[in-house]
Symmetry: C2
Subunit: 271 residues, 2 copies
């Protein structure tokens, strides 16, 4: 995500420094950045605009280190997957810093600079969460960035964002992971041979970076738990109807899910 | 599926008749078939080779009607999504018929002749289930068809097939349907705005034809129930670890799912 944003913004930047702890990513970043380094503190000391694009708890750690790295303030935007915990960390920054929580609604299950694409954000929603360190400077800059990369801003409360992505992103990840676990534990190699595009797509998110997902689970537990419990109840209904061969109820549920999918497709088409 | 097979086989067929009850499908079929009609019995009476490509319980109904339509036998292949119930229906056909159960491991969530593609089967697994009416005539013809359309045959017991697709197809469908239901019942229109490609892919199967899915649920109940229960237990573990903030267990589970996904991708690449 950070690599894709660097690519998308490169034409508009005078000086671009990429910080990464992975040597492979740094090699790839060297092709587009003026400098590629593993030294966060040294870069943070000089930067006018910092974009933090790491797993959520690393963002929180970097925010905590920030005040020690520099005397003057700077502008900070993050791209973390959950927003409430990050917003709390931003809100305790010294007043010389301005900060905005951001979450572009796009991504790939393959991360790293190698998978970066400058087009990733085009026509996508870019969620913004204000906090008590959000001044006009960071807000204007963030909106300019979003315009340059072709995305659409959507302001949300951090808690509201986290509740919504629990449904649209975190629950889908968990069921995808559950699906590959189910297939892998069948104990029959032919299970992969009888898997088609349906399994491929439904299980794709299980290939997401486990470290990124762990931080999501650890910083959005209650919202994810609420969705998991709802999901369990929904499937428990289906299991009961299956057991009772209650064809009428199953038919209603299938028709309702089909209608929900149509609604989702219709709304997405208009966006 | 039937339309795609008709397209794929058209170059090799002397005479192709398409039977469909949907006038739109018949219009589309008229472009490639020598005849397009809604009259199954009249066509079954004359056909040398019948391919039944409808929801499972319709296939079973058509098989039951077959003996009354003709005095001589013919060769029958079906493309139904579950195989045990169809195999039972094939096994009670009069001995003058030869029949093979088939299930190509490919598909689209949009059905109908409009979505047909002659390339659909290329490099895909085509499951075959023998039954007590499987003679050498239908077996040779089926294998020839599979070669012509570029697929790979995989012989399975009908029950074994149904158990495997419960994991790779039917459970994925149910969780996808559960996901759109969860998002639709959040009661916040912005939920669709914060959905990205992850939600799109994970929920895609919920757009499948509800009639086709109902027949699958009604003819593969026990295998699907077993998978649903396993899925519920898996997610109940995750919910418990989330509640206890048991980071170590969550981390292990995420890593295992990631490894399962890698294994799946590796095996699929070799097929």
């Amino acid at each position: 995500m950070g690599g894709s944003l660097a690519l998308a913004l490169r034409p508009y930047l005078e000086h671009l420094v990429v910080v990464d702890t992975d040597p492979v990513a740094l090699d790839a970043a060297a092709n587009i950045a003026d400098q590629a380094t593993a030294q966060f503190d040294a870069v943070a000391k000089e930067a006018e605009f910092l974009i933090l694009a790491t797993p959520v708890r690393t963002i929180i750690d970097l925010l905590a280190r920030l005040p020690g790295t520099r005397q003057e303030g700077c502008l900070v935007l993050d791209l973390g997957s959950t927003k409430a915990a990050i917003n709390r960390a931003m809100s305790v920054l010294p007043h010389r810093f301005q900060a905005m929580g951001g979450h572009p609604m796009c991504g790939k299950e393959s991360g790293g600079f190698g998978a970066a694409s400058g087009d990733l954000f085009r026509n996508q929603t870019f969620v913004l969460c204000r906090n008590s360190r959000t001044g006009p400077g960071i807000e204007e800059l963030t909106l300019e960035v979003i315009e340059l990369i072709g995305a659409s801003p959507l302001f949300l409360e951090a808690d509201g964002h986290d509740s919504l992505v629990a449904v649209t992103s975190h629950l889908p990840y968990l069921v995808a992971a559950g699906l590959v676990r189910a297939a892998a534990t069948v104990g029959d190699e032919r299970v992969w041979q009888v898997s088609a595009s349906g399994f491929h797509d439904t299980s794709r998110l299980s290939g997401s970076d486990p470290r990124m997902m762990l931080d999501i689970l650890m910083t959005n537990g209650p919202a994810i738990l609420a969705q998991l419990e709802k999901h369990q109840e929904e499937l428990a209904d289906v299991a009961r109807w299956l057991r009772l061969k209650d064809e009428r109820r199953l038919e209603q549920w299938l028709a309702q899910a089909h209608a929900d999918h149509e609604q989702y497709r219709a709304v997405r088409k208009k966006l």
